[in-house]
Amino acid sequence: MPQSACFIDARAVSRAEAVRSAAALIEASRLPVFLVRACDVAGARAAIRLAERVGGIIDHVDAEAALRELDVMRSFGKFIVTPNESRQRADTVLLVGAGLTKLWPEMVGRLGLGELPRLALQPERRRILCLGGDGDETSLSGLVDQTIKAPDEALPGVVAALRACVAKRRVGLSASHKSALDTIAEKLRAAQYGLVIYSPLSLDVLAIEMLMGLVVDLNKTTRFSTLSVGASGNAETLMQTAGWMTGFPVRTGFGRGFPEHDPWRFDTARLIESGEADVVIWIASAAAEPPSWVSRCPLVALTLPGSAVAQAKVQIAVGRHGHDHDTIEFVRDVQALAWRAASGASDLPSAAATLDEIATSLSREAA
């Protein structure tokens, strides 16, 4: 690989020199934070191993939305379905919140919203219902059966009212609003297999929980499940890997020699703000820029070549996973980890190999 792909203080250096310098920074650190922007399972494994060894912290830039999802699960529970399964079964689809097709541009095709569900007992045109948004989902045009417009901030109330209508409880709404929600409620109850799609980016924890409550209620008489859009698939890759390696999701620290999970204590932004973090290892085996707040802390940046990070103390080029090397990462369609061959295999070292090199360069005492 070209020499110029690694830098110390913006000065081009050899890869070996950059790796040694990164190891020295981590070794001198009291609290190193491994902040992932993009990595595959191999990169996640290497980052977690290294974080454990040096008593650091593992975090992901998209942790907030991912943990919002997880908080609903671990306080209330969840119904989940794969896009593949819902494409084949769902006769009724409820979209909650604005901009879902912007967050997931392939959604209409992947969920086959314009197709017949092939495994339905009597395949019919799907009923697409929208709650919230301003009717701007142009890729859904012609497919939508009914829309109730509402800004994001009104969604928790609308979802709660819909849940009440489904359960045939009294709601304090005007007759016209109630009638519109009652119509949707009736369609939901009539579904053979229904799907609710939402995004943690437009709903808070309590609203998602209310949505799950709606799904719990509907499952008493028919089948319903949910699909979340928008929390990054990459956070899920790291979350799954951290799950089996440490028992916990991200925002987990190893300072005491065993993993501890705490979404507030181990939030990188807070740790930098408070001055607790004294080096950040930025891991991005995909095109990405670190957020500006990261630069307030000495930075070791593992990035694609050519994406200069001006503020980095040390920058090391790594390959793009799935492009320069084969990869395993979380894939939304199957809601599972899946393998993908390199689309343009090269000799660029992976983030995983680079993190392992850094680990090898640490002195024994750092163990």
């Binding site: 699960m73 671990r74 399964e85 028992g247 020699g257 599972a336």
Partner: protein, 545 residues
């Protein structure tokens, strides 16, 4: 290097029973005493018990659903002690690293993860690769998949079905085939809330019985050593003993393994309509030589239940303790993760506990009943030492029973059973028999040529649980990995697989199916070994002749 374990009491049911003497290890294997050579290393194990490494045939230790359980219940596994530098992450609760260490400490060296749906096989193998020391295997789950159900609806030939089953097994690198509530998970997607042996799967028009028969036959045709591993219908329901007995009859003499039988041993007697029917069920098992079972014993304490029987898990989620659960409709198979807390003071839980012990004690042949808690469903595998102690002591069982609601003793026969397992029977049930059931010829015994997976225990008559909790020494492939109950270092274990030979005509069809239905290449169910952390982790197990 030649190593000698000197003077131990060697319990080796596969090779004629018991003797006091020396055992020699050279490299990864057990060898006959070499003439004219001195051992390079000698361990004096006089008075101690020497057995082959334990083999667990049914323990949910890896995969997407297990991982969801970890993330669902952070409160159940807080870290407490730092890990030593050479055993990173070994103290991380419920981590794969801890799992490998805890099994090794108890003298177990091979564990089967019994419920891997094909689309999650890669995830399971990644976790197994991070499970140190022990050898592992997965069972590949079929029987709720659209492709198979469609084949059965179209009455395709057994040859075609065997080709499909073989392709999925080899692709996902499984050791054997598991079927979970055949058709039931699919029926649940069509809103069925109960599903029995002769119920029909909507859309496909086939019954659970048809699916099980077809898979049993495919496993036999493919010469896979481990018989079809079946999670029957109606798990956990009062009166389900009828389903279990009907399933045994339905096997019609063909080999069949029934998983976690305890969960199917319930009658409907008593004022609560819930009683033990373990005695008649054990009798049915005793009379059917083609049947093997594992127990899925319940032990008390908090745990979580994890199963691809989504229908059952959905029904069970009403009783979750604490009240939260995940119900996942996956591609073909999904899963349900439901926390639970088995309580000694709870009549139903205590009857379940008694049912399991009755099965262990009333099934007379230790070669056909296997030692499991269906980890974590009946209890975590860390309760094994206590369970072994209960099997070996009538008095201990009586003590436990005395602490339970009196009605429990009335609803079971446990109090009247005097049998106590001998070390010989324990070694059969946990070593020799599982090796035979899975086709692992070089495991489960201590004859020359066997893999040197060896557990040495203090012979503690007064406290069998302590004896089995912390092995004195454990060797994996001849490498000393546990000393005085402490793991000394990691080594990478293997993953065992079966690779039956079959025609490949189906593959083209499957490629097209994946492109059409999943809009993805069949790589989804094809594990690329080089993508895993240890590409050489797989070891092929021989097929039936």
């Amino acid at each position: 290097m030649l190593t000698c374990l000197r003077g131990g009491r060697i319990i080796d049911p596969a090779n004629g029973g018991e003797r006091v003497g020396d055992l020699f290890i050279e490299g990864e294997r057990i060898v006959a005493e070499p003439l004219g050579r001195k051992a390079d290393q000698i361990y004096d194990v006089t008075g101690k018990i020497v057995m082959a490494g334990g083999i667990d045939i049914h323990s949910h230790i890896a995969g997407g659903n297990v991982n969801t359980g970890r993330l669902l219940l952070p409160e159940l596994h807080p870290g407490q002690t730092p890990a030593s530098a050479n055993l990173p992450l070994s103290s991380a609760g419920w981590s794969t690293f801890e799992t490998g260490c805890l099994y090794a400490k108890m003298g177990f060296t091979t564990v089967v993860e019994p419920a891997v749906s094909p689309h999650h096989a890669l995830h399971a193998h990644l976790e197994l690769a991070d499970t140190p020391i022990i050898d592992k295997a997965i069972l590949t789950v079929l029987g709720n998949d659209d492709f198979l159900l469609s084949m059965l609806r179209e009455r395709e030939t057994p040859t075609a079905i065997a080709q499909y089953v073989g392709t999925m097994l080899v692709g996902t690198r499984g050791l054997g085939i598991k079927c979970i509530n055949a058709g039931g998970a699919t029926a649940f997607k069509y809103n069925a809330r109960a599903f029995s042996l002769d119920d029909v799967v909507p859309h496909y028009g086939v019954t659970s019985r048809t699916i099980v028969e077809a898979l049993q036959r495919a496993v036999v045709d493919l010469k896979i050593t481990h018989p079809l591993h079946l999670h029957m219908n109606n798990l956990g329901i009062a009166g389900n003993v009828d389903t279990a007995i009907a399933t045994i009859e339905a096997a019609r003499g063909m080999p069949l393994h029934l998983a976690h039988l305890q969960f199917y041993s319930y009658g409907t007697e008593g004022k609560r309509g819930f009683s033990s029917a373990a005695a008649p069920l054990a009798e049915a098992v005793n009379g059917a030589k083609n049947i093997t079972v594992d127990v899925g014993q319940v032990m008390f304490g908090p745990t979580f239940t994890v199963s691809l029987d989504v229908l059952r898990q959905y029904n069970g989620s009403q009783n979750a303790r604490p009240r939260k659960s995940v119900i996942f409709d996956g591609d073909a198979n999904g899963g349900g993760i439901v926390p639970y807390d088995y309580r000694r003071s709870d009549f139903y839980n205590a009857v379940q506990w008694a049912c399991g012990l009755e099965l262990f004690l009333l099934i007379d042949n230790p070669w056909r009943v296997f030692f499991t808690t269906d980890h974590p469903n009946g209890a975590p595998f860390t309760t094994y030492p206590d369970l072994l102690a209960l099997l070996m002591s009538r008095d201990l069982r009586a003590q436990w029973l005395a602490e339970m609601p009196r009605s429990v003793a009335e609803m079971t026969t446990l109090g009247s059973i005097g049998r106590e397992y001998s070390l010989q029977e324990i070694a059969t049930m946990t070593r020799a028999a599982p090796a035979k059931l899975l086709g692992l010829g070089d495991r489960g015994h201590l004859g020359s040529g066997a893999r040197a997976d060896i557990a040495v225990y203090d012979n503690n008559n007064d406290n069998r649980a302590a004896m089995f909790r912390d092995a004195h020494l454990v060797f994996k492939d001849g490498d000393l990995v546990v000393r005085h109950g402490q793991v000394t270092h990691y080594r990478a274990g293997r993953t065992l697989e079966s690779r039956p030979d079959f025609g490949h005509a189906i593959e083209r069809r499957l490629d097209d199916y994946y492109e059409e239905v999943y809009r993805a290449p069949r790589d989804l169910v094809t594990i690329h070994a080089e993508a895993l952390p240890h590409a050489d982790m797989f070891e092929e197990v021989s097929l039936r002749p």
